[in-house]
Amino acid sequence: MREKATTLYIGPQHPGITGNMMVKVQIEGDTIVKARTEVGYLHRAFEKLQERRNWLQSFTLLCRFCVPEPDPVEESYARAVELLEGREVPERAKYIRVLVLELARMASYMLWYGGQNGSLGLYTMGQWSVGDRNYILDLFEELTGGRIYHMYIWPGGVRRDLPEGFESKVLKTMDYLEKRLKDYDDLMFSNTIFQKRTQGVGVIPKEKAVEWGVVGPVLRGSGIHSDIRIDDPYEVYDKLDFIVPTEEGGDIWSRALVRRQEIRQSIRIIRQVIDKMPSGEYYNRIPNPHKWALPKGDAYARTEATRGEVGMYIVSDGSTHPRRTHFRGAAYAHGITLLEDLLVGENVADISAIMNSLGTCPPEIER
């Protein structure tokens, strides 16, 4: 007997959705038979606006691309500009950039802890991790002046040097967070209900993963060793010692385990960076930004963010303003085509958990 399909709109106003988008699902009983996403609620036309701003002004728009973790976008843009112009970056700036990127990765994963568990109803976890995330944001605030929008990694280096005593503060925070991560494990990963809800849900098969455009922790959760920090190394990641965790399952549980290990690797990287931090210049000064023209050509730089590969394609026509910038976010594939395929056959109760585990960030899609 075939039940009548009900149409259910998840979003745009819905607590279970990540950001502001909509998933329209058709359900039979509790099983999803068809899913379709609708985006566009956040379109601000950044790339169009960048054409009206000069190379440095357009940089201030970048951190708004994806708010949970804005630094990789800045990094991609800065590196693309540097590739195009051939500008050298001081060694110290590279280390500081890695420090900032890894702190941002941690902050983003802390938010993910909250989101993933909130989608499954474990609110205590979210309260803890989002509360502890404030300690990382405090570091950002001291370093860059802003909690969320940093505008710190910019073409030619970083905007300012590390404040005095910053390293010891970072190390202290890392010690604290490492201690807290154990509590998170007890609450979340040892929890049988969490395991029951996540294991075998939202499986991305290993053979199909790369073709479907899966990137980042999601890909690693499907058992494929792939990380831009290793494959296409940028800054000083090739001089640092860290491992890229992979898990075989391809389900929410495996992705959670990958993220669990990655946040620990971030702590490890941060400690190494502080240990190896050279002294010297932090900024290769750019000329007057109003007259700063880039040579004709194009460049594409990509960075490993918590969501996966984020890239920035910039095109210059030799003038002071960009001819075209185009941002590539992981959510391009994750948020639309992958999600639509993945949701079919799943339980309607798992939509939010699957979206959170994919790290969908709607502003990346529409910008």
């Binding site: 009900t6 259910l8 909130g118 205590t124 029951k196 809800r197």
Partner: protein, 302 residues
Amino acid sequence: MELFINILGAIVTFLVAFIVGMTYGGLNRKITARVQNRKGPPFYQNFIDAFKLSSKETAIHHGIMHYLGPAFLMVSSVMTLLIVPVFTNNGWFPNLNFKGDLIFLIYIMTFGPLGMALGSGQTGNPNAAIGVTRGLSQMVGFEIPWVMALIALMIQYHTTSIEGLMEAQAQTGTWFMFSSPFAFIAAILAMFGMFRYSPFDIVSAPTELASGPASENGGKYLFVMMSSGSVFTFAKLTLYVDLFLGGAANLPVLLLKTFALYLIPILYGMTTPRYRTEQAIRWFWGWPSFFGLLAIIQAVIL
């Protein structure tokens, strides 16, 4: 005169149940907040919320059943409350407890959710409809161990009257918690589902269904639902105290016992994600029903 006292007693019972249930809800929020590393709202926050909701203008109308849904819920809660004897051997609040027995109670406790289901069905909101379906399926889940525990008690003590059971406890001097431990365990496990706190809160899971059956109910509807929930909480806790903890002779003892019972679901709920409906039903039909079965076997043998 006796009728007057009865009515007065019923009103006082209702008020006490409302106040205690609301305060427990507030304390729940406070304790949850403390576990979550924050200060939390004041314990009387639920009263403020309730009065605010009652003072909101409510211009939602989806038809007569939608309007009656919360009312059914309230009726069911009040009926449950009035059937459950609040104190042992107290002539002041006899309410209706001599008129009904446990079997009637089981029926009346499911009456509210069914009424709510009709009301939510009429809103046309798919979230509400799905939430109600889940709530009813989950009810089927926890009713099994719950009814089994009650049947065990009825068989063991040859009475279906709550007062009779209370007297049996008073005569032997041991609480049923100790004399029928399996029934108690089954009933406590069923209580997790009855209270709909995590891990069995999928009925109103905000990340999936907005707020489930209450999706279309704001303002005064929500006020009625909230107060009926509070009254129902108190009634259920009192019933548990009556059945398993030997009842209570006065208010402080009652509060102590009910609050101790109330802590079990809320403390467990803070550390767990929620089950999906079918997982929840499987869970209830597993260990809790097994203990229920043991309780019946024990009752038959003794």
